[in-house]
């Protein structure tokens, strides 16, 4: 990768353009966001205020920055991202393109308007700098023709998926004159620096994701209509069963907008009349009726579902095409679904469903067969004969756990092939019932260990070796003693050799929650690393780093009134954390996804963190009636006292910030936010690329070693606020209680947090050791366990999955 993107311009400040700009800015790129200029500033107080410091003629781009602040989920990793976006307008600011290393067009899907804009772009942009279009509906080759010849080689499609911060997929589409080296260079940059997954698509209508995705969705809808399966039943059959997002089919369409979805489908319907599934791209008449009536989904208040207030409660209603009315949504009664969902893998779940004999199973069979069949029919044309491109596109762009061709092989090619033949549709002539797209197979344990090694090239009918990138450190998601890197472990945790003298401590319990077996293992792992390795990474390949401590274990002890066991459990946990912190070798953590409670405490005790940009970390114990007791309060307190000492200031303000983080169970909105909010200290770096996170952490360990790593030593004389601090926190809590902002039990728990942060109810200015902080954590944790309300909170969380405020 030789390309350097220091400054970029996004042309078009619509929802997509602005979000792309926000993502670039979050990656540290100075980004210009330009849109139409004009003196017609709307009469809007907020806009006028926002325009302060900017040219009023750039009001459209400035307004887009305001929109970014409101969108949910937020496209902004932190609000400071906005400062890195420079709003401007097409009329006055196009000269900035001369300084830009990448120009991204994201304006309205009209080729005449794009042509006009590109005429201006090419007056200013440097030849050779990539100029890309985020078009999803116009062939990239057609747009290229509107550019002067010297710019055509650097022009291609780079199609982000909405929302660009969260969707991994970026489709890269060359046109006839594209300089492929430039395209590959930029693709590598996007993958590395923006953390996206690149799929190379051909210049076909809707490219890959929206071609296969719409077909998959529409065939399901058409089959369901024919089989007489209602909206709720379709969603019950197309979400969890496939390990796809819970919003499944219709709820997803409501969020996307039925009108938007129709446009995407219509694009294929109108432009590819010889598509083998042409008629499936037309929406059923009842959906067209909803759109005609302005029922677009969430944005218009109702679509296939609507939320209705009944007796003060919000009730979901679902549409019934036959009566053209919304009725209270029914709980689907699909006889075999519960048993299917008990199967351990997606392949087993779907296989179980396919073996059933009713209309619901028929929907699963037909939906699967059609999407696989369509993918095989198109793979040569739209994905340069790469099955992986299709599967990657569907996983990264539609949130599917497995792409259609991975499902084909994982479920069993013969089984799916048989249904495909029953469809009576055209099939790919090269596809045999035994065609294996991948080696190893997705359902082979080897896939888990090493990932994909060989891919079937559908045109050449032979396997291509997939070079595993150097950075890729794949970690086991279960206890796998067969993995050659395995050193030691148990059902929940393993120690792996990840090369170059570095070991990796990896979790693989359910939701990576922390149990005693793991905490008892950590000292053994540290002893082993101390003897045989140079350093250690704490990382895993789960969706989340860790959802926290195993509450069911604590509840069992509470029910048995076995307070000594809880005391011992906390001691063990604290001991494990202290060993991490005081390890004589560098330990680098890799928080990503949810990093809650005990999980957060693990990450707080590593010497450095390489956090994923999508890290949602926080000490959330308040929600279950407890306080952080594995060193979380202690680490927050130490940081607060150290920060105060730097400025010779009153520690209370610093402790208050930490107190509020724990009291409000604040969870960061991103890795950057975790640092800005003060959850993580400055020994944190952020990587946008989750795939490289473990490798980055490994590099960090090596760097720390090379720079002469110095182990930490326990603190013995921390000057604390003591009782005066505790009383001041009590005063705050009293006022919050009087203002009904918290419950009595909230105040009680928060008082225990205050006691730990202040070093106990002792004389102000006393000095205490790190261990004494831990003792305070432990004692107060056990005392809270003895309260009925804490017990109720834990029970509620385990039963309902959300906190109880009692």
């Amino acid at each position: 990768m030789t390309i350097k993107i220091r400054r970029a311009a996004v042309l078009g400040a619509g929802v997509m353009g602005a979000q792309i700009a926000a993502h670039l800015a979050a990656a540290g790129v100075r980004t210009h966001l330009l849109d139409l200029g004009g003196d017609d500033v709307p009469e809007d107080k907020k806009l006028k205020k926002a325009l302060k410091g900017f040219a009023p003629r750039s009001w459209r781009a400035v307004r887009a920055l305001g929109v970014l602040q409101k969108l949910k989920p937020s496209p902004l990793m932190t609000s400071s991202v906005l400062e890195k976006i420079i709003p401007g307008n097409f009329e006055d600011d196009m000269s900035v393109l001369a300084d830009c290393d990448w120009v991204i067009e994201a304006i309205v899907e009209r080729i005449d308007i794009k042509k006009k804009l590109f005429a201006e772009v090419t007056k200013y942009a440097r030849p050779g700098v990539p100029i890309t279009s985020n078009t999803s509906g116009i062939p990239v080759g057609d747009i290229a023709k509107t550019l002067p010849e010297e710019f055509q080689t650097s022009f291609f499609g780079v199609h982000f998926f909405n929302p660009p911060r969260y969707m991994k997929l970026v489709e890269v589409i060359p046109q006839g004159r594209t300089n492929i080296n430039l395209l590959n260079d930029l693709s590598a940059w996007i993958e590395f620096r923006l953390g996206k997954g690149i799929v190379h698509a051909t210049d076909s209508i809707n490219f890959i994701g929206n071609r296969i995705g719409v077909l998959g969705c529409n065939t399901t809808i058409h089959h369901a209509e024919r089989l007489g399966i209602n909206i709720e039943e379709v969603d019950a059959l197309t979400g969890k069963l496939w390990d796809r997002p819970k919003s499944a089919t219709f709820r997803t369409l409501d969020v996307v907008g039925l009108d938007t979805y129709q446009l995407v489908a219509k694009n294929v319907y109108d432009k590819i009349t010889d598509d083998p599934y042409h008629d499936f791209f037309k929406l059923p008449s009842w959906m067209e009726g909803l759109i005609e009536d302005g029922h677009f989904g969430s944005k218009s208040g109702c679509g296939t579902y609507k939320r209705v207030k009944e007796k003060g409660k919000s009730v979901i209603h679902a549409y019934r095409p036959e009566t053209k009315t919304w009725v209270p949504a029914e709980r689907p009664q699909i006889p075999w679904l519960k048993d299917a969902l008990k199967q351990k893998t997606t392949f087993a779940k779907l296989s179980y469903a396919m073996d059933q004999n009713d209309k619901y199973a028929e929907l699963v069979r037909l939906s699967l067969a059609d999407v696989v069949n369509y993918s095989t029919l198109l793979v040569n044309d739209i994905a340069s004969s790469s099955p992986k491109a299709i599967d990657d596109a569907m996983r990264w762009g539609y949130g599917w756990k497995w792409g259609p061709l991975e499902l084909y092989q994982g479920i069993g090619t013969e089984k799916v092939h048989a249904v495909m033949q029953d469809l009576g549709r055209p099939t790919a002539d090269w596809l045999g019932k035994g065609t294996q797209f991948y080696k190893p197979s997705p359902n082979d344990p080897q896939w888990e260990r090493t990932g994909l090694q060989d891919e079937w090239q559908c045109d050449l009918k032979k396997y291509k070796k997939i070079e595993s990138p150097l950075y890729h450190v794949k970690l086991p998601k279960k206890h796998d003693t067969e993995d050659p890197r395995y050193l030691m472990g148990n059902d929940s945790i393993s120690l792996m050799d990840i090369g170059d003298g570095i070991a990796c401590l990896t979790f693989h319990s359910k939701m990576n929650s922390l149990n005693t077996a793991m905490n008892e293992f950590i000292p053994k792992a540290i002893a082993h690393v101390n003897t045989h390795f140079e350093g250690m990474v704490v990382a895993n390949d789960g969706q989340h780093f860790s959802a926290g401590a195993d509450l069911s274990q604590i509840l069992t002890y509470i029910n048995d009134k076995n307070w000594d066991a809880i005391d011992k459990l906390i001691r063990t946990f604290q001991g494990a954390m202290q060993l991490l912190k005081f390890a004589p070798f560098p330990v680098v953590g890799c928080p990503h996804g949810m990093v809650l409670g005990g999980g957060c405490e693990v990450s707080l005790h590593t010497h450095h963190r390489v956090a994923a940009s999508e890290t949602y970390a926080g000490l959330v114990e308040m929600g279950v009636g407890l306080i952080p007791a594995a060193g979380g309060c202690k680490e927050f307190a130490l940081r607060a006292y150290d920060q105060a000492a730097l400025g010779d200031s009153d520690p209370f303000k610093f402790l208050q910030k930490m107190f509020m983080l724990i009291g409000l169970a604040k969870v960061s909105a991103s890795g950057d936010d975790a640092v800005e909010a003060g959850i993580y200290g400055p020994e944190t770096s952020i990587t946008m690329n989750r795939d490289r996170q473990t490798a980055h952490a490994k590099l960090k360990v090596i760097e720390m070693l090379q720079l002469g790593f110095r182990p930490k030593l326990p603190r013995t004389g921390v000057k604390v606020l003591g009782n005066p601090g505790v009383q001041t926190f009590r005063m705050m809590l009293y006022n919050m209680l009087e203002g009904r902002q918290l419950s009595e039990h909230d105040a009680h728990i928060a008082t225990q947090v205050a006691k730990v942060l202040c070093g106990g109810e002792i004389d102000g200015g006393s000095r205490i050791s790190e261990q004494q902080f831990l003792n305070l954590e432990r004692v107060n944790f056990v005392e809270l366990c003895k309260t009925q309300k804490t017990k109720e909170r834990i029970e509620h969380m385990l039963k309902k999955g959300k906190p109880l405020r009692n």
């Binding site: 009153d650 009383q727 006022n735 203002g739």
Partner: protein
């Protein structure tokens, strides 16, 4: 007994905290500007000033170092003029006038500067460092109850509805807007210059002087509907909002308080005679009701029937407590805050008592009224009331 008179009184415009005209003006500098203006207007020999009593509710940081003495020195008064900072929270500015008057009445002096100053932009409401007493927390945590919550308690106890509070708030804004538009505050406000410094495009500091001469808080565009949409800020499900509470503000006000002997000797014309002042304590949980206890005592001390008080500047700490006080004492609404109050014009804590005195005296002069009163509730559960006779 010597009588005490106010010959001159001026105030600054009251500006919004954090983003208003005085957000970057130090409270000692602002106070010095007003002192300079009052002394100049009066034409007295500053060497005859025996003390300067300055009220300040949070006398620390920019307001620390005995701000009264600092302001005197910064105003360019002779170094022989001393200064004393007085704190009784929201009544501080009235307390200083009363204390100066009582010094005169007791024969301890003839000429004093009295007033108050506060920058809520620079020093937060409870000061920069709050440390609670364990004993208080164990026995009487209500001593530390936030002001907003006491206003909620008053609303509950005296059954003041949310609508009543919002209507009162709107009433305050309307009166203030009318007063500002009618130029009614022109005589009492001393225009103050502030310097704003900003970096220009070349990184050079550019200084600009602007003159602040108009109160900033009043809103012409508010309505009961708009106020009704605001959420309660102190208590979940409560009725006290940012819209029906006083505004955080910056400001200063200074009076020249002299004896009858001094008046005659220096041939000064009095604006008003100080008639009496009283403070009383109430339950801290319903702090806002303080004036109900203080007003009868002040009237008794002054020997004046409450019914003969034609103009009342009742500090609108919160609409709930203002309404409760008016209801409890059956105050005639037409006599209360005819040019608006703290909800619309702002409440620079330690300056408020003197600021309201300025508005009262100029208002009585304008409307040819004889007796007037300044009254307010005070944090931790007190009330204060001071009565003046118009001589202008």
């Amino acid at each position: 007994m010597e009588q005490a008179y106010i010959t001159h009184i001026k105030r600054s415009a009251i500006t919004k905290a954090f983003r208003g005209g005085f957000a970057h003006k130090r409270p000692d500098e602002l106070c010095a500007d007003i002192i300079r203006g009052v002394v100049k207007d009066s034409g007295i020999d500053p060497n005859t000033i025996e003390d300067a009593l300055i009220g300040c509710a949070m006398p620390e940081a920019e307001q620390g170092m005995n701000i009264a003495r600092m302001a005197v020195l910064m105003a360019g008064l002779p170094e022989g003029v001393p200064g004393m900072t007085i704190n009784r929270f929201c009544s501080s500015g009235l307390q200083t006038i009363a204390s100066a008057a009582n010094l005169i009445r007791s024969g301890a002096g003839h000429c004093f500067l009295a007033g108050g100053t506060e920058s809520m932009s620079m020093v937060p409401m409870m000061g920069n460092k709050v440390v609670a007493s364990g004993e208080v927390m164990d026995t009487h945590p209500e001593f530390y109850l936030g002001m907003g919550l006491t206003a909620e308690n008053v609303a509950d106890k005296y059954k003041v509805s949310r609508t009543e509070q919002d209507e009162f708030s709107l009433w305050s804004h309307k009166k203030s807007i009318a007063a500002i538009q009618g130029g009614l505050f022109k005589d009492e406000i001393l225009p103050v210059d502030v310097k704003r410094r900003k970096l220009d495009k070349n990184g050079i500091v550019q200084e600009k002087t602007i003159t602040i001469d108009t109160d900033e808080g009043a809103r012409a565009d508010t309505s009961v509907e708009a106020l009704g949409k605001l959420r309660s800020v102190f208590k979940t499900g409560g009725s006290v909002t940012a819209g029906n509470s006083s505004q955080m503000s910056d400001g200063a006000a200074i009076a020249l308080v002299v004896s009858e002997t001094y008046l005659k000797k220096h041939n000064l014309t009095p604006m008003a005679r100080f008639c009496g002042f009283q403070v009383a304590g109430v339950d801290p949980k319903i702090m806002g009701i303080g004036p109900v206890a203080a007003i009868p005592l002040a009237c008794k001390q002054a020997g004046i029937e409450a019914s003969s008080i034609e103009r009342i500047e009742l500090n609108e700490a919160f609409a709930s407590q203002s309404i409760a006080v008016m209801k409890e004492l059956k105050l005639d609404p037409s006599r209360v805050n005819p040019t608006g109050g703290a909800i619309s014009l702002g409440h620079p804590l330690g300056a408020t008592g003197a600021k309201l005195s300025a508005s009262l005296l100029y208002g009585m002069k304008r409307d040819k009224q004889k007796y007037g009163m300044v009254t307010m509730c005070i944090g931790t559960g007190m009330g204060a009331a001071g009565i003046f006779e118009n001589l202008a």
